[in-house]
Subunit: 133 residues, 3 copies
């Protein structure tokens, strides 16, 4: 069964920690061992996993991408968000996390982020939890 | 069961929309709920998901990567395609898409692309469809 | 069931071929058809799949990333490894490979690499093998 996370971004470029929401869906599913697929349904938003403890890390990633792919670069896509499409393909729209002991298996410092590249907007991430075979 | 998509690229760098072929394999599989793993069997070709409606988007991504990783950069790999290997690791060789209601679950503007970085060539993408548990 | 690969890196930035270890876990699992999820439990290390035959390729990727994201860039994360976090989100922390005929399905030249971006350290990669439905 597919469920959806609703995410309200507040800036044009922003990494939003969605670990707690994903963890809550996994807990409610009752699945103790399996995998959880996360899929951003947008072409200007991505999903990544990186350090969640120090907020400076998400800011570093966001600012690095903004400087690597400038919003006013020599792009031809007419909507003015070409940079957001490029960033989405660099980071990628999905992640698969392992479920073990009823919880998402993450390293000590890892958190799951939705990467907003063309906000502020309301976004949807599809979540599919598969139980063990 | 693994199936294969054959893809004939026509340029050195090119994003090729394979959404229809993937959708057809999913339809024929009869799987209504599950996931579909896509895996490029090449080290100079990747898979991404981005906007399919405006062809300018795939061109923007392709041209950005070409300027970020120039073909004549200071690389030591002797085959002259070092840039293609780098681009492949930046974009990634695989994607996992969710199947729901017998169809691939994609956002309104999303399409699945094979990214050719060292064409023209004939390429193979492995497709594995897993039914719901 | 989740298993873990232990990886000892010896340089700050390094791509380490883990194909044989992953293949051995798949072989021991006895699974003939399925998928294998690989997940780096670190926010300064990633997983990629690229050419394994010519060692120059992994060196090209490593050196390109080091020049793209310099260690002494204008970053604010206090631990001095901001570049490693950025590289991790560009390459991605996980891969899913298909198992077919009891073996990992890879292209002729493909190998699986753990990407160390803040070594030398001892690292852990979670491996979850799912049998066919």
């Amino acid at each position: 069964m597919v469920q959806y996370l609703q995410i309200a971004s507040r800036a044009r470029t922003e990494l939003i920690d969605i670990t707690a929401q994903v963890g809550e869906l996994v807990r409610k599913s009752g699945v103790s061992s399996g995998v959880c697929h996360l899929f951003s349904l947008h072409s200007t938003g991505a999903i990544t996993i990186n350090e969640g403890a120090d907020p400076a890390v998400r800011s570093v990633i966001s600012r690095f991408l903004s400087s690597l792919v400038p919003v006013d670069g020599p792009f031809s896509h007419g909507e003015g968000n070409s940079d957001a499409h490029v960033k989405t393909s660099l980071v990628g729209p999905s992640e698969t996390v392992i479920i073990e002991g009823g919880r998402i298996l993450l390293g000590t410092w890892q958190a799951i982020f939705f990467c907003e590249f063309d906000g502020p907007r309301t976004r949807k991430v599809a979540v599919r939890i598969s139980a063990d075979d």
